[in-house]
């Protein structure tokens, strides 16, 4: 080991300490938030935001890591909501007991994800996106047309006789618990063998197969994990909103929002979806409040998004991270300790090599192109 690597190890330890501190401060701020802001309008937005933090993180575990962009995860959200709704109705559950059904919502969503995944994951890229949308609409139609789902009038949640002043707080802390669990899981997976296999699939699925990665199994596992979390959120959301309709449980805007949040923050990063949801969900609610005309708020929001996609196509976290890295690299004396490659001279491409050679080599490697 050379001095250079030791320095970088020390630097990364310091960065880890900073990051851990930042996360603790953020968590503390989020934990006391409903005690400081007691206005029900504010806490309602806060619960919504946390639900989307968890949903975007869960979606990112599958779509962000594997590169398979799903626009069908609202299926799991809706199934979660309908599961708790139907179970509470048929088993005559009332009061706080209904919250015991939330794990059931997660399990049902995960079970549905298995055949869904086995069908959809046979195809890639754009075809995959289209298949997920198609399956999504099948579920929405089923919810509207079966009688056990309540048809077009949907289901209502049992009444919760809670103090109106703090009504939102239990939802807030439940959502926060799911957020902590999901983000923790996303972080754990990203550094794991499983996460590495997912990212290898994102870069070049066929090459990964040729190195022994059982890609179907890996993709399906990630798909089921994300469905599990989002099903749970659907159940929680149902009690929070107190009713579910086919078009609100199986909402195409849910899919778009979750994808946009992850893209905005940084696809495939752990912090990206968190940051994306913390910024975008309150912003969207704020615009809706500000402009009495609902469409105007959507236009403003859409334009804002367009600007971000054009200026930060890879999302905020990767772009800012790169800016910081290049700013560090430009500071003198930082790169001096970099170890030299012993065979570097021999191994570089000759100056006369066609400039397209490296690009040609990079070309077929990415199944889904840069994002």
């Amino acid at each position: 080991m050379t001095g250079g690597t030791l320095t970088s190890a020390g630097r990364s330890r310091r960065a880890t300490a900073w990051r851990a501190g930042g996360i603790l401060v953020l968590l503390a701020a989020i934990a006391i938030f409903p005690l400081v802001f007691t206005n029900a309008l504010v806490t309602t937005i806060a619960v919504d935001t946390l639900i989307f933090v968890a949903a975007a993180s869960a979606w990112n575990i599958f779509s962000g890591y594997s590169g398979y962009i799903s626009l069908g995860h609202a299926v799991f959200f809706g199934c979660g909501a309908y599961t708790v709704g139907i179970a509470a109705r048929d088993w005559h559950l009332t009061g706080n007991a209904v919250f015991a059904l939330i794990p059931l919502a997660a399990v049902v969503a995960a079970v549905i994800a298995v055949p869904f995944g086995l069908v959809a994951l046979r195809v890639r890229r754009h075809t995959f996106v289209v298949v997920t949308i198609a399956i999504f609409f099948i579920f929405q139609l089923m919810a509207a047309n079966f009688s056990f789902t309540g048809g077009t009038s949907g289901l209502s949640a049992p009444f919760l006789a809670w103090n109106p002043a703090t009504y939102n707080d239990p939802f807030y802390y439940l959502a926060l618990a799911i957020v902590v669990g999901t983000v923790g899981l996303a972080w754990l997976i990203r550094g794991s063998r499983f996460g590495l296999q997912l990212r290898a699939i994102r870069d070049d699925e066929d090459r990964a197969r040729g190195l022994g990665v059982r890609t179907m199994r890996v993709k399906l596992a990630a798909f089921v994990i994300s469905a599990f979390v989002i099903g749970m959120l659907g159940g929680l959301w149902f009690y929070f909103i107190t009713q579910v309709l086919p078009q609100s449980g199986f909402d195409p805007l849910f899919d778009l929002s979750v994808a946009l949040i992850a893209f905005f923050g940084g696809l495939g990063t752990v912090s990206g979806p968190v940051l994306g949801a913390l910024i975008l969900v309150p912003a969207q609610q704020y615009f809706t409040e500000q402009f009495t005309n609902d469409y105007l708020s959507q236009i403003v929001f859409g334009s804002l998004f367009l600007v971000v996609i054009l200026l930060l196509p890879r999302g905020v976290i990767p772009t800012v991270g790169e800016k910081i890295a290049s700013w560090r690299a430009r500071r003198p004396g930082r790169m001096a300790g970099r170890p030299a490659a012993p065979l570097a001279a021999q191994l570089s491409v000759p100056p006369g090599a066609p400039p397209g050679a490296a690009a040609a080599a990079a070309g077929p490697a990415g199944p889904d192109g840069p994002r």
Binding site: L188, I189, G191, S192, R193, F194, G195, L196, Q197, R199, A200, R202, D203, D204, D206, R207, A208, R209, G210, L211, G212, V213, R214, T215, A221, P339, A340, A341, P342, L343, A344, Q346, L347, S348, V349, P350, A353, A357, A358, A360, A361, A362, G363, P364, A365, G366
Partner: protein
């Protein structure tokens, strides 16, 4: 001498194009076998059917006398068959070390491992680092693979195929588009690995490279084996000259010099 890898009477068509027709190729254990032939003669298709990227229309593939016809790529790899691609394929958005770790631990079947354990234990990382040093790109271990040059990508692909200790490695044009001194390095590495027991099947257009390194050379033309034998015999085989250059002594329709 036992055949470590054997393709028997393999046929494969793409629409109306017969890429392989009744093709029989043997790779002897411990050998470095060369596979040559003009463009479109079926060399890469043969690699693809052996490693499970394409299905055969007819015929069988055997590894060590075990039938592995149409086994998917992940199984072919688990059985000890590693390969590289003609247009080098690496994982551009993973670091070089992460690229190496993708291939670790996939040899063999059935053993349960905690999927949430951190990627690459100390033993895997040590092994990966050894191979990066062996191929000479250890200095780039923490760099994104995307930043590697073309030649370095070839070396990375070779290195991560070796991570799982394959019995036979299929190299698709290891010397293609690579500078002469790097070709020497690659040849030396192949010889070294072969001396330690790894078998190679190599597709290559660089004749000096093939003739210099291979014990045996098989020549494909129109999806069929037209000749097979030691390099010095193949070099002077009229059918090989015909397949490669399109001319023979009797051919009076030779191209204008």
């Amino acid at each position: 001498m036992s055949a470590l890898l054997r393709a028997e009477h393999v046929s494969k068509a793409f629409g109306g194009v017969q890429a392989l027709s009744d093709c029989t190729v043997e790779v002897t254990r411990g050998s470095i076998t060369g596979l040559i032939g003009p463009n479109g003669s079926g060399k890469t298709t043969l690699f693809n059917v052996i490693t499970g990227y394409e299905r055969v229309d007819a015929g069988d593939i055997y590894a060590d006398d075990r039938k592995i016809t149409n086994a998917p790529p992940e199984r072919a790899f688990a059985l000890g068959i590693g390969r590289t691609f003609q247009l080098t394929r690496i994982f551009p958005r993973l670091t070089v070390m992460e690229n190496m770790l993708v291939a670790t631990q996939h040899r063999g079947r059935g053993r349960w491992r905690n999927p949430l354990a951190r990627a690459g234990g100390p033993a895997d990382r040590r092994r990966a680092m050894e191979l990066l040093e062996f191929t000479g790109i250890a200095g780039h271990a923490t760099a994104l693979a995307d930043t590697l040059s073309y030649g370095q990508r070839k070396l990375l692909e070779l290195a991560y195929v070796l991570v799982a200790d394959p019995e036979v490695v299929l190299l698709d044009e290891p010397a293609g588009g690579v500078n002469p001194s790097l070709i020497q390095t690659i040849a030396a590495r192949i010889r070294e690995l072969n001396a330690r027991g790894t078998t190679f099947l190599i597709v290559e257009h660089n004749m000096d490279f093939v003739m210099g390194i291979c014990d045996r050379v098989t020549v494909l033309d129109y999806g069929t084996v037209v000749a097979s034998g030691p390099p010095e015999i193949i070099r002077s085989n009229p059918r090989v000259l015909d397949a490669y250059l399109g001319i023979t002594e009797e051919d009076d329709d030779a191209p204008i010099p």
